[in-house]
Subunit: 348 residues, 2 copies
């Protein structure tokens, strides 16, 4: 599938463990994961000892590691639930990070072959992105593709790719009301492409299956936003949607690209959407304010790094969103705190 030559020493695969027994998950991915260094972060709310099969090269982080790093940092910062993966992002020293939810196994492509999600993310991240003009034949750097007639030659060299967002077969990444309304709905459409999401276009990034260039955008991928009653099911969370919009704004500002599409993973069933309907749809409601905010946000020319950008975003959140809802005030504070943690982790 991919012809990218991967330097394995540049990649960390980060796994947030929300279940104790990772055996079947790890075995499904063994041909891929066994080639790389893994960072496994145990959900600090998950009691017990993880079961991890032999034959993998990994560092494991647990509650005590997290508490040690957090130290006296804001109590509002939480690495529990799906947010535990972000602790792995913070600890990594590699150029690239690939993260895949522990309820996902390799998907099959349209010819029935298993998809090497890591190789595809690395292809996406190591070939240029083209955010300033849309190529109708999608990613021109995919094998067999090119720029179509009318595409300005001056834009064909593209820019570095900061984030690669993969997709999901079987259980799509729907919100609780949609999943509850259409309990039978499964995504079985294999769309064989990658595209650059155009500059200034916002999108709902899912954290289920992503890769990113940690050196370029790492500080934006930290768990600043947490719902009051966040659960341990994907449809009950929006932390990744928030960080995704932060990354997109950062990439747009720094002239980096965000790609979406391949690779797919196969998502297994987890949870009961009807049950989750009993909770408040806090995340769903908040999007009505979050999306227009990020769509209109413009950073100053003095913001030259992802760290600078996140600090500016935090300041804007505080001014524009926080007065309406304390959840945004906390997010702004957390962003400031997390950038400090990020810097500290880099200098140790």
């Amino acid at each position: 599938m991919s012809e990218t030559s991967i330097n394995h020493d540049e990649v960390d695969i980060v796994i947030g463990a929300l279940q104790l027994d990772l055996t079947s998950f790890m075995e499904e991915w063994r041909p891929v994961f066994s080639q790389f260094h893994l960072i496994i972060v145990q959900d600090p709310d998950l009691k017990g000892k993880l079961e991890i099969p032999a034959g993998f090269n990994f560092d494991l982080y647990t509650k005590s590691d997290i508490d040690g790093v957090l130290g006296s940092s804001s109590n509002a910062i939480s690495f529990s639930g799906y947010s535990c993966r972000y602790f792995g992002y913070l600890m990594s020293q590699k150029k690239y990070i690939i993260a895949i939810d522990d309820d996902c196994i390799p998907a099959k492509d349209s010819t029935g072959n298993f998809v090497d999600a890591v190789a595809q993310h690395m292809t996406n991240l190591s070939t240029p992105a083209t955010p300033f003009f849309f190529n109708t034949l999608y990613d021109p750097f995919c094998e067999g593709a090119d720029f179509v007639r009318g595409y300005p030659f001056s834009l064909r060299s593209g820019v570095d790719c900061g984030l690669s967002c993969g997709l999901w077969l079987n259980l799509a990444d729907l919100d609780a009301p949609t999943q509850a309304l259409k309990p039978e709905l499964r995504n079985n459409r294999y769309v064989d492409t990658v595209l650059t999401v155009p500059a200034r276009t916002m999108m709902p990034v899912s954290g289920i299956n992503i890769g990113f260039n940690r050196e370029l955008v790492g500080p934006a991928l930290l768990p600043a936003f947490r719902l009051a009653k966040e659960g341990n099911l994907r449809w009950e969370t929006v932390e990744d949607i928030w960080t995704g919009m932060c990354v997109k704004v950062v990439c747009d500002h720094l002239r980096l690209g965000v790609k979406s599409g391949l690779p797919y993973v196969w998502r297994k069933e987890r949870g009961n959407a009807i049950e989750s309907l009993k909770k408040e749809w806090e995340g769903v409601k908040l999007m009505e304010d979050v999306v227009p905010f990020f769509q209109s946000l413009r950073l100053s020319t003095s913001a030259a790094t992802a760290e600078d950008c996140v600090s500016e975003i935090a300041a804007a959140v505080k001014v524009q969103l926080a007065p309406a809802n304390p959840i945004f005030a906390r997010a702004a504070e957390n962003m400031v705190e997390l950038v400090k943690l990020w810097k500290r982790a880099r200098t140790q």
Copy 2:
């Protein structure tokens, strides 16, 4: 494929005839084309009588019809070559227009079934578009798809779709230098999706295989832009790239959508890319000015119809682009003249 119920009386299929013998082309499309009213426009530079097989319901327009309508209009307006199709757009009284180049035949989808391109364009045009936020699972109105987690509910009703841009298998729509550089390159990747091109994102629209809502965006799809040495091969033309950017600006301003993706058509070989390299790459060079112009163009709030918008675009072309190159001055004049022709054709 499509479950859209099509009102056949609302659709004109427009065919620009660049070759005298349309027999094999029409026969390939018979199951589809025979259901609709066709408008066939003979390239006014093409001498002789068209061969059109029996069993189709069509109006044929030739050089004398074109000359009659043009009358004393600007001599600069030309409906020759690929531009002949636009005369059909001008003459149509239907709500929707589908246009397919006469060197294209039905494509097969990934399961080997013939693609009904007209049905897919009608699905694209009659379901909402979502230009204000990108849905990572592509067109949420495709069968089996939906909005993903994080997509604001307030944006889920979408907006009307103005333009549907289909794609090409086999011979991709490349420019002459790319085709000459990679003579063996063929597009064989069937990407099974449709997406809304986000608002404020420009794209190179190809006129090879499109559908549009004539009532909403018709005045923008007229042949205002013509290269000095335009040939009769697709890679030698950019008239559709120009009109495509006009339509996109119009749609963005009027809060309409532009979709891209399915349906595919199969493009047969025509012409010699190496030969075309001997010509000037005028179109390729002009894109360097055309794209930034359209990207930064913003229309006034008083522009309430596509006609208003095109008139404003013409004025901006005259001020911003024309001083650098007389080809733009002519384009601006043509746009003004074509809007007059459009209005006249509507009132007759």
